[in-house]
């Protein structure tokens, strides 16, 4: 039976240089539980190094964690990449890691990048340059994620910065892009009025949280049978009676 699950599939941890130091896996999970969210996805810039830590923090709480990463493509388009499981996530992580910009992070300029190890409890700095775009094109990201059974959702398409509409002008028809994310400051109707080119596409809204109090501010309801990646994928595609709506 299809029922509604509240999902925020775009949450940054303290691994993202632009996110607050308070965004530890434990604190994020705690906030999600307070809010009564059913499903979240950590989505750090060009890295999935904290996905396992968030999943580990959520173990036994009932909060479902989907594997995610926000990739910045060569065209400087932000794309939410959702992977079906930890193995696929690890493969995608490896692909993105080898495509990251050369050089090391400068915390004073871009911000600190922290990784939590659930095995040791250590918190260490990630030194690669996560703030810079990967050398992967949008096509390579969509095909690469698709080959691993994952799904791509271009992020905050209504914004001027790092959005597919701002950078490319339109959503390429040849790519498997089942849904678009709008930012939390705009409604679906407002987005369709402002960007007529996206009419007919499924829209979702997530928080893109960089601070704890932003989690859940953008949220979508998924009409699915159970809170799993496969069901979420069906909802994003509008298949098998599954649905998604901007909350």
């Amino acid at each position: 039976m299809v029922r509604a699950f509240a999902a925020d599939l775009h949450v940054h941890t303290y691994l993202s240089p632009c996110a607050a130091r308070e965004m530890s896996p434990q604190a994020i999970v705690g906030r999600c539980l307070e809010l009564g969210l059913d499903i979240i996805a950590p989505a750090d810039h060009n890295s999935a190094a904290n996905v396992e830590a968030v999943a580990s923090a959520a173990a036994g709480t009932g909060l479902v964690v989907i594997c995610g990463m926000e990739v910045c493509t060569k065209e400087e388009v932000h794309v939410l990449t959702l992977l079906p499981d930890a193995r696929a996530m690890a493969e995608w992580e490896s692909k993105v890691a080898s495509s990251r910009a050369p050089g090391t992070n400068v915390p004073a300029i871009f911000g600190e990048q922290w990784v939590f190890s659930p095995q040791t409890g250590d918190i260490v700095q990630e030194t690669s340059l996560l703030a810079a775009p990967a050398s992967l094109s949008l096509d390579e990201v969509v095909y690469g994620v698709g080959a691993l059974g994952g799904i791509c959702v271009p992020c905050h398409v209504d914004r001027r910065a790092f959005s597919i509409l701002a950078q490319l002008g339109f959503v390429p028809e040849h790519l498997d892009i089942p849904a678009l994310e709008i930012s939390r400051i705009i409604t679906g109707d407002e987005a369709r009025t402002a960007f007529p080119g996206i009419c007919g596409r499924t829209l979702v809204s997530f928080s893109d949280a960089h601070f704890l109090n932003e989690i859940g501010l953008g949220c979508s309801l998924f009409g699915i049978e159970e809170p799993t990646f496969d069901e979420i994928a069906l909802a994003l595609r509008g298949e098998a009676g599954r649905w998604v709506q901007v909350e």
Partner: protein, 114 residues
């Protein structure tokens, strides 16, 4: 030529980082892709772009650019303005199109790296 002389001559409005206007401009670069700028612009350069988010300021800091010019009458967002003001990165704004603004800078003697 300093950032201030360029701004005064071409009528570019300083919207942030005014305390660093006496910096010398040693070259020019025009691009809207941050990765391109990070790979190719030079220290002391003036960067012309239509991107208006705060990562523009981070890139200008990383490369130690002399100024950023936002062309086409676009406005730098509030986060970017605050960061540029805090760090002393001059942000200049002009109604001119990017093409026109680059041409005027070139007329003043600003050159790209060859």
């Amino acid at each position: 030529m300093t950032v201030r002389e360029i701004a005064d001559t071409l009528g570019f409005r300083c919207v942030a980082g005014g305390r660093s206007l006496d910096r010398e401009v040693t070259s020019g670069y025009a691009s809207d892709l941050l990765s391109d700028v990070m790979g190719n612009a030079s220290e002391g350069g003036i960067w012309l772009t239509s991107q208006v988010h705060q990562n523009v300021v981070a890139v200008a800091l990383l490369l130690d650019l002399s100024a950023v010019v936002i062309a086409g009458g676009l406005e730098m967002n509030d986060d970017g303005i605050a960061r540029a003001e805090a760090e002393g990165v001059p942000i200049l704004s002009t109604e001119m199109s990017a093409f026109e603004a680059v041409g005027r800078l070139y007329e003043l003697g600003v050159r790209g790296d060859l």
